[in-house]
């Protein structure tokens, strides 16, 4: 009974992370996207902490703390600052309409489930569910990167994708902490690089709309 409850709660938190992924796809304003991302990271931290409690694995608390401090607080604040500095907080942008993005998102969730089900045919039903949720979060992050034109939202999509990877890692038993720390720091380094990159793009093109970069691709003419 208690076992069942702990699995159920883990899945509910996982589903919250997934819903935040859909929330990001639904938002059009940059600040709303950033806030939803912070919420997703918060839910991820809760998922990691709950798994640490259930699996009796103290190192997962470290994962939760990393997710909370870096991804739910530091990165959103840094991105807020960046967006304000760049003066693009009023941008409303979607390459594909919201409705279509959501439909594609649901199709991706179905795809994730169809991928996970045959691979984990021998695993318990509960593992399947958490794996398919994590896989869906990864795919939604990719979708976010594909459908958005703005560089900031693309970075958020990248980090949402990475949230999905961590979600998969904490749901499966026994991922060593070294891996997680390296992932967390690489994200932080990536953040810094992206930050510099944003300023460079804007200096060069006066915009963060990646549409302008496309004329520099060789294959159009």
């Amino acid at each position: 009974m208690l076992q069942q409850f702990s699995y159920d709660l883990a899945h509910l938190i996982g589903a919250t992370v997934l819903m935040a992924g859909f929330g990001m796809l639904y938002q059009r304003r940059l600040f709303a996207v950033l806030n939803t991302f912070a919420f997703q990271a918060l839910a991820l931290a809760a998922a990691a902490a709950w798994q640490a409690h259930v699996q009796n694995a103290p190192h997962l608390y470290a994962t939760a703390a990393i997710a909370l401090i870096f991804k739910a607080i530091a990165v959103p604040i840094a991105l807020h600052w960046l967006v304000e500095r760049l003066g693009i907080h009023r941008t409303v942008e979607t390459a594909l309409s919201i409705g279509w993005t959501m439909i594609v998102g649901v199709a991706l969730v179905a795809l994730a489930i169809m991928l996970v089900l045959p691979v984990t045919a021998k695993a318990a039903a509960l593992t399947r569910e958490s794996l398919s949720i994590a896989m869906s979060v990864v795919l939604l992050g990719m979708l976010m990167m594909i459908t958005r034109r703005n560089a900031v939202t693309q970075v958020v999509g990248f980090m949402a994708l990475e949230n999905g990877l961590i979600l998969a890692a904490v749901s499966a038993k026994g991922m060593p902490l070294v891996v997680e720390i390296s992932i967390a720091f690489s994200v932080l380094v990536a953040m810094t690089v992206f930050g510099i990159f944003f300023f460079r793009i804007r200096e060069r093109f006066d915009s963060l709309d990646l549409h302008f970069l496309e004329t520099y691709r060789g294959d159009r003419q």
Partner: protein
């Protein structure tokens, strides 16, 4: 026999509490906006006043215009009778299920839209067309929620779902969480609450429900408003019954059980109404062209709920 008694009690109870619920929502909203607000029992006075007044009908109005308020009210009231509120032991419970409920609500909406177009004013037609657009988006979402719930519980009857959930047969399900989110979005749209429609507006460009019923007065207006209030209470009762049925009296429970059920129902209504008022205060109204995003989101949540059901059941 007791089932008939409790059914009659419920029919009266729903009608009697509906104005209070709406009045409470208005009062809390006024308070949150920094106004004093009319007391929560103001809607009862409004009804008394409206029933005293003469009903003015436009020259161009046909019998549809006169019949619509009564048909709308009757269908919504009947729908409110089949949702268990304080006990599952009601006479009509086996007769109607969630799909019938959706159909009854659709009848009410259809007649309101007809009446809106009947007089031939521009606003009526505009409101009717918008209402039908919202309905065509909200109804599939509501049916999707119904399907995922009935897949969990194995039945589409609200009373049976309550028995199933209270029996401890279901834990915290991801699907139920998704279905609840979808249901809340549908309820907001169906009742014309703020992100979709503003119940207090008289600004021509934004009104939907108000535009359709603009021509009504006197007892007709009282009927229309009563239907609107009963519909709000009905949706609150439905959400409470499907997703939080705790405290509801089972068949065979005596008078103490019924009283507990009524107290629990009052508490649930209080929480939902207060939450609605708070939500309406903090959120801004949506553009008409974004309705499809919002309600499409509800439909997709319902779809996801069904998809996850198949994963967790491991079919």
């Amino acid at each position: 026999m007791t089932a008939v008694v409790w059914q009659i009690v419920q029919i009266v109870l729903v009608l009697a509490t509906a104005p209070l619920v709406t009045g409470w929502v208005r009062w809390v909203k006024a308070r949150l906006n920094g106004r004093r607000g009319a007391p929560p029992w103001q809607p009862y006075r409004d009804f008394y006043r409206l029933l005293q007044k003469e009903a003015v009908v436009a020259h161009s109005a046909s019998w549809i215009f006169r019949a619509a308020p009564y048909i709308t009210f009757a269908s919504v009231w009947l729908a409110a009778c089949i949702v268990p509120t304080f006990t599952t032991n009601i006479f009509l419970a086996p007769a109607a299920d969630l799909i019938a409920l959706v159909a009854l609500l659709a009848i009410g909406r259809f007649w309101t839209a007809l009446a809106g177009m009947d007089v031939g004013t521009a606003f009526g037609g505009l409101g009717a067309s918008r209402e039908m657009m919202i309905a065509s988006l909200a109804e599939p979402a509501m049916l999707m929620v119904t399907f995922s719930l009935s897949l969990v519980a194995g039945t589409t009857q609200p009373a049976q779902i309550v028995v199933f959930v209270l029996g401890g047969n279901v834990g915290i399900e991801v699907s139920l969480g998704l279905a609840l989110a979808a249901m809340l979005m549908v309820a907001i749209a169906e009742n014309g609450r703020i992100p979709i429609d503003n119940p207090a507006t008289h600004l021509e460009l934004t009104m939907v429900h108000e535009a359709m019923v603009l021509e009504y007065s006197g007892r007709h207006l009282a009927m229309i408003e009563a239907a609107q209030m009963v519909r709000l209470t009905l949706f609150m009762a439905l959400i409470a019954c499907l997703f939080a049925p705790w405290g509801m009296a089972m068949p065979g429970a005596g008078l103490p059980g019924i009283l507990v059920g009524m107290a629990a129902f009052a508490a649930k209504l209080f929480i939902l109404a207060t939450a609605l008022a708070w939500f309406e205060t903090v959120i801004a109204k949506m553009r008409v062209f974004r309705y499809s995003d919002f309600l499409g989101g509800a439909l997709l949540l319902g779809l996801l709920a069904t998809i996850f059901l198949y994963v967790s059941e491991a079919v």
